[in-house]
């Protein structure tokens, strides 16, 4: 009897199989039903402040579009990040608790494949959810922008602005519509959710309960979002007229290693919402940073998980 018996240390095919099964699992848990209220919110927003911005405010159509973008992006960020945490925290401790993991790990499946597969499965679902929300955002924003452009053009023509200024006004409004820069904002939220999922993955490898995993991940998520502010306030505060001591520096560095720093993610998505220029270089840096974070968390998870007994 001759069989191929060598099992590679890491196999993309196996990762794919586990990721696929994770997606099936999440889909059959009816996770996408959560998109319905999000869709309602995005669509409802359309009618919401059309009334509100009557009168002189109508002169500031950019404000209105910005608010639309802020609310939508904020919702997307909240939804994907929470989803990343909850999904990851449910999946792995769940497998351990009901011992499904036994049957998987006693097949020739390296533990790294299992972890990476689960993470990719969650990321794939995040991607689909983000895509759906993005389409909704772009569609609603498109109609709204068109509407504003029309209104503004009418208004400016009535008052008698020269043709050139009207065109400039139209361009200003269009810049607040669905642009590539807006997509950067969406991407940065997606990347943030991926990093959060990796954090939850790490925590779920050593925690013994779903609740602990969720609570800790949410905490890290919040700290990560505010850590640069906290760190600056705590350790680099120049108002005391003192340079930070070495102990403070070490603590600061440790914090930034344990907790991911989401400042770059936030600043890019803020800039996107304000329709400011976001450079491709910044995006590349953000993608690189996310990859590094995810890589670190996966490796750490693997260390914990490879010694784990069930």
């Amino acid at each position: 009897m001759s069989r191929s018996t060598s099992t590679s240390f890491f196999s993309p095919r196996r990762v794919l199989i586990i990721a696929q099964s994770t997606v099936t699992q999440l889909v059959r848990m009816k996770i996408f039903y959560f998109l319905a209220p999000v869709a309602l919110l995005f669509l409802g927003l359309q009618f919401f402040d059309a009334i509100w911005f009557e009168g002189p405010e109508a002169l500031m159509p950019e404000q209105e579009l910005r608010m639309h973008k802020n609310i939508c992006l904020g919702t997307m960020m909240l939804f994907t990040s929470l989803f990343a945490i909850v999904a990851t925290a449910l999946l792995i401790p769940g497998d351990i608790e009901d011992r499904t993991l036994y049957t998987i790990l006693c097949k020739p499946v390296p533990r790294l494949d299992y972890l990476v597969g689960k993470l990719f499965g969650v990321i794939a679902v995040l991607f689909i959810a983000m895509l759906v929300m993005d389409v909704l955002l772009v569609t609603t924003l498109h109609f709204r922008t068109e509407d504003k452009i029309l209104q503004t053009t009418e208004y400016m023509t009535k008052i008698g602005y020269p043709e050139r200024e009207i065109a400039a006004g139209r361009a200003d409004i269009a810049a607040h519509g669905p642009t590539m820069i807006l997509q950067f904002g969406v991407i940065s939220h997606f990347l943030k959710a991926c990093v959060i999922a990796a954090v939850a993955l790490l925590i779920s490898t050593f925690s013994t309960s779903t609740l602990f995993t969720i609570a800790t991940s949410v905490m890290i998520w919040i700290i990560g979002s505010f850590q640069s502010i906290a760190r600056d306030g705590l350790f680099n505060d120049a108002t005391f007229g003192e340079a930070p001591g070495w102990a403070d520096k070490i603590v600061g560095t440790l914090i930034s290693l344990i907790f991911p720093d989401f400042q770059l993610f936030e600043s890019i998505s803020d800039a996107a919402a304000r329709a400011e220029d976001v450079l491709y270089g910044d995006m590349a840096q953000l993608a690189g940073l996310s990859a590094v974070y995810i890589g670190i968390y996966v490796v750490l998870s693997w260390f914990v998980f490879s010694d784990k007994e069930f």
Binding site: T5, T7, I17, T103, F310
Partner: protein, 302 residues
């Protein structure tokens, strides 16, 4: 041919951390056992004696505190060792959201199977464990015995050379239990090594070549089944249609023979299991069957 042993456990010791710090539970104490290829090996012992722990160590699910385990010469802590082994854990549990066929497919794919081969194999496995009717039902609604069956299908999907079964018949009805027994015998005939543990000693007795008895983590006895259970100084005599005359003659013969005692005498019995099987085998027209049996019993008692 010097083939590596199917399972080789050498001086296995396994400690679990106790509920309090520093306090350890020693689940397995210096167990050594070897299972030759093609053998059916049964591990028996009371609850909590370390059977499942030994099996998990063989599969690399727990790391030995000391000692080693190997499957076909490959160390159990390496992923490589798992390509030729199928495992049915005790009280198996699978993804509830998958159907029976999808479950077998998932595990088949994890073993690197694909395409036509896998497709045929899925059907073959479902038929083998008698779950064709439930093939497209989600596992959410499966009974314990059905889960056990799907667990078997999953364990056998890649046609492994070694099958490790932790209480394969737990929760399965007598007919199913009998089917699983037959299945294990089929596996044995095909030269597949089986390592199982069970509390159904009768079954263990029926199918195992070799048996190990483990008690509080220590392998207290091990050997070929025949050697273990035969009582050297006792002989059993089962007679059919023995007349009272003959019985009387035998009794006097025993009496006059020096050093021989009649320990017991009575009707040879069938087991409850056999009886249950006989009654439940013919499923259709069960009603008339019952009547017939009653009649015949009456005739006997008269």
């Amino acid at each position: 041919m010097s083939e590596a042993a199917a399972v080789e456990v050498k001086n296995l010791v396994k400690d679990f951390k106790g509920p309090f710090r520093g306090k350890k539970v020693r689940a397995v104490k210096d167990v050594s056992l070897t299972i030759a290829p093609g053998e059916v090996y049964g591990l028996i012992g009371p609850n909590g004696s370390g059977k499942s722990t030994t099996m998990k160590a063989v599969l690399g699910l727990v790391a030995p505190t000391s000692g080693t385990c190997a499957i076909f010469g490959k160390n159990s802590t390496k992923v490589d060792s798992r390509s030729e082994v199928g495992f049915l854990p005790e009280n198996p549990y699978f993804y509830k959201h998958l159907t029976a066929a999808e479950t077998v497919r998932f595990y088949g794919r994890l073993c690197g199977m694909r395409g036509r081969v896998l497709k045929d194999r899925i059907e073959e496995m479902l038929e083998l464990v008698g779950l064709q009717d439930a093939r497209d039902r989600r596992l959410k609604g499966f009974s314990k015995g059905m889960l056990q069956r799907i667990g078997l299908a999953q364990a056998l999907v890649q046609d492994p050379r070694l099958v490790v079964l932790d209480e394969p018949t737990a929760g399965v009805d007598p007919t199913g239990s009998r089917e699983i027994r037959d299945l294990i015998l089929t596996l044995k005939n095909r030269g597949i090594t089986v390592f199982l543990c069970s509390h159904l000693l009768e079954q263990v007795q029926e199918i195992c070549d070799r048996v190990g008895i483990i008690h509080q983590g220590v392998l207290v006895n091990e050997g070929r089944l025949g050697d273990l259970i035969s009582l050297e100084d006792k002989t059993e005599l089962i007679l059919q249609n023995a007349s009272p005359d003959l019985m009387e003659q035998i009794r006097t013969l025993i009496e006059v023979t020096h050093g021989t005692d009649l320990v017991s005498e009575g009707r040879a019995r069938t087991t409850l299991e056999t009886l249950f099987l006989k009654e439940t085998q013919a499923k259709p027209s069960g009603e008339s069957k019952v009547v017939k049996v009653r009649k015949s019993r009456k005739r006997v008692s008269k």
